[in-house]
């Protein structure tokens, strides 16, 4: 602050550390597989973690597989919940009756006060390029970066037999919804010619895992079929 008056740049007033990385501009969907990180871990435990999205309203999709770059090994997980809320506990957003575009022009502060967070269920870790579906030896470190899994990583992860079991056994998650969403990402990561076989294999495995719960299984298989049909017609 010892410069002559009136010579400072606007950048010199920005927060040097805190929230410097959050981009609040309107989100353009860039699709999966980009190398830049999409979030940063702000709460971490062995089985679950919470990340702050780099972009407001720009968290990875529900059911998307993510990779957390951390020590000693990168952690793999699946996004099972996303929320956008006030940054400060004692300030709640309230209705303005304006479109987002109008708000950006006339109430620009709003977008600095909101953050998108997403919850990740930890599936396993990455040993070299090989996904291991078991709890990692150490939880992700706070402030580690979260990336969307590459197509190869998604393919490898969804090829393991343990995946369905891990999801079905996960406590407190919307399991069936998550199964369908992850399947959709699994199919996206495969050549169209290989998708039919993948769905068949998944169906078989599901019927084995859910053999004691016929109602649930048939509902799941029914929705699976619908999902497939709508994917084919696209």
């Amino acid at each position: 602050m010892n410069q002559p008056l009136g010579t400072r740049s606007l950048d010199s007033f920005r927060d040097p550390i805190r929230r410097a990385s959050v981009d609040v501009s309107i989100v353009v969907d860039e699709g999966a597989g980009t190398s830049a990180h999409v979030g940063e871990v702000i709460e971490s435990s062995t089985a679950q973690l919470v990340a702050e999205s780099v972009r407001l309203n720009g968290a990875p999709a529900f059911g998307q597989f993510v990779r957390v770059e951390t020590e000693p090994l990168p952690i793999l997980g699946v996004v099972h919940n996303t929320r956008t809320q006030s940054l400060e506990a004692n300030r709640r957003p309230s209705a303005y009756g304006k479109s987002e575009e109008e708000l950006r022009l006339e109430q620009p502060q709003i977008f600095e006060l909101l953050r998108t967070h997403f919850d990740v269920f930890v599936l396993g870790y990455l040993d070299g390029t090989h996904p291991v579906l078991a709890y990692p030896p150490q939880p992700a470190r706070i402030h580690s970066f979260v990336h969307v899994c590459s197509t190869e990583q998604t393919r490898a992860l969804t090829a393991t037999e343990q995946l369905l079991r891990s999801l079905l056994e996960a406590p407190g998650l919307p399991t069936d919804e998550l199964l369908l969403a992850t399947l959709s990402h699994a199919l996206d990561a495969r050549e169209p010619a290989l998708r039919q076989a993948y769905v068949l294999r998944t169906g078989k495995e599901l019927s084995r895992l859910l053999r004691d719960d016929y109602d649930r299984l048939s509902a799941l298989v029914g929705r699976l079929k619908d999902r497939m049909n709508s994917k084919d017609s696209q």
Binding site: G6, E88, P108, Q109
Partner: protein, 420 residues
Amino acid sequence: MPGSRRSNAPTTVARPGSSYSLLDLTAVKGQVDAMVAAQVDAPALFEERLVQAVDLLVEWGQPDRWQQLQQMIQKARVSWLFADFCGPFCEGIDAPPRPQHLSVAATDGSQIFPDRHEISPCYLLNIGYVLLHYGSGERALISSRPQLYWQDQDLYQEWGGRRTGVSRDVVGFRRSLLELTELAELAAASQAEGHPTVALTDGTLIMWSLEGRAPDFRDDCLGQIRGAFDLLAERRIPVAGYISRPGGSDLVNALRVAMCPMTVTQCDQCPGLQSAGEDLPVVRPCDPLEGISDGVLLRRLLQPGQRSAVFGSTSQILSDYGAHHIHFFYVHVGKEVARVEIPAYVAEDQQLLDRVHACVIDQAAKGQGYPVSLAEAHERAVVRGADREAFYRYLEDMFVRHDIRARVSLKGLRKRSAGI
């Protein structure tokens, strides 16, 4: 008693079957009741006096009358603050539309005062910065910057040849100055990047409390104030101090002179004093204006969105403001009448004045009655009790970790752990 407890922390102690509070509300209740009872009858009487005051304002504010009152005030031998008239003031002035593209810069500050009962007498100033761009969709700048003052020259000062430890009010001055100089810098940086900018700060631009301070301290402060205004004036950036629920009565004081029956107003020779006897209370001719503030008065004259005429302030300290004499106007922002203070270069430039007027109305509308930029700057700046605690605990940890001998005063220690 488990753990330690400090004065700023919540003071309720959980005890089975009882609640414990330090303020004995039952004891205050009787006094509150008496206070309320005394004020119940006031509104009707006040209303009558207020109507009278508005009539006076409209009468003397006419284009053919205000100069006459001005002359009466100039002759008056009294020591109150007066509104200095710059033209007729009997009507409200409508707000011009806000320019579509406009940026609003605002700062606010708060502090951790030096506490000699703590381990170090250092202090901290935290400035909140807000820069909001309207009409362009550009990203807002909202940030804060804390600054720790701990060196000898920060904590001890020589003013008027005496070396003294820095006091709370000196820290308060430092904070006010930093708010203003940082605001000037922020607004200048914004304007330099091509944003037409208005600079807003919370509270008065008139540092009247510098009166009576050691001359070298006062000169130092005033130099910085003038420097900030010089920069803003040179870049043609309007700056305004926004005062919510203003308590001032500069304008009402002027009307007192209008009501005065003496040819030359001189309060120590007031006819009210002469007619008062042993059992008769003093009734001054201008008593009907007692208790009326400018804000209350102008709420009756101004429509929402309108501002009053611009007045000059007659505060003593302004004689040292150089070219930047502070003026003010009142503005009806919808939910209240606020006072807006501006330096001379804004008061004299219709375009800048209009920009401030439009900006203040728009800001208050966006912030549900109080300028949104100032509210956000406050949110960034504020240092709450818990933050202060955390700051001192961190300081203590660092002292211990580096083996620096640190002592909390016995009083400070007692506050932390009030045993029974």
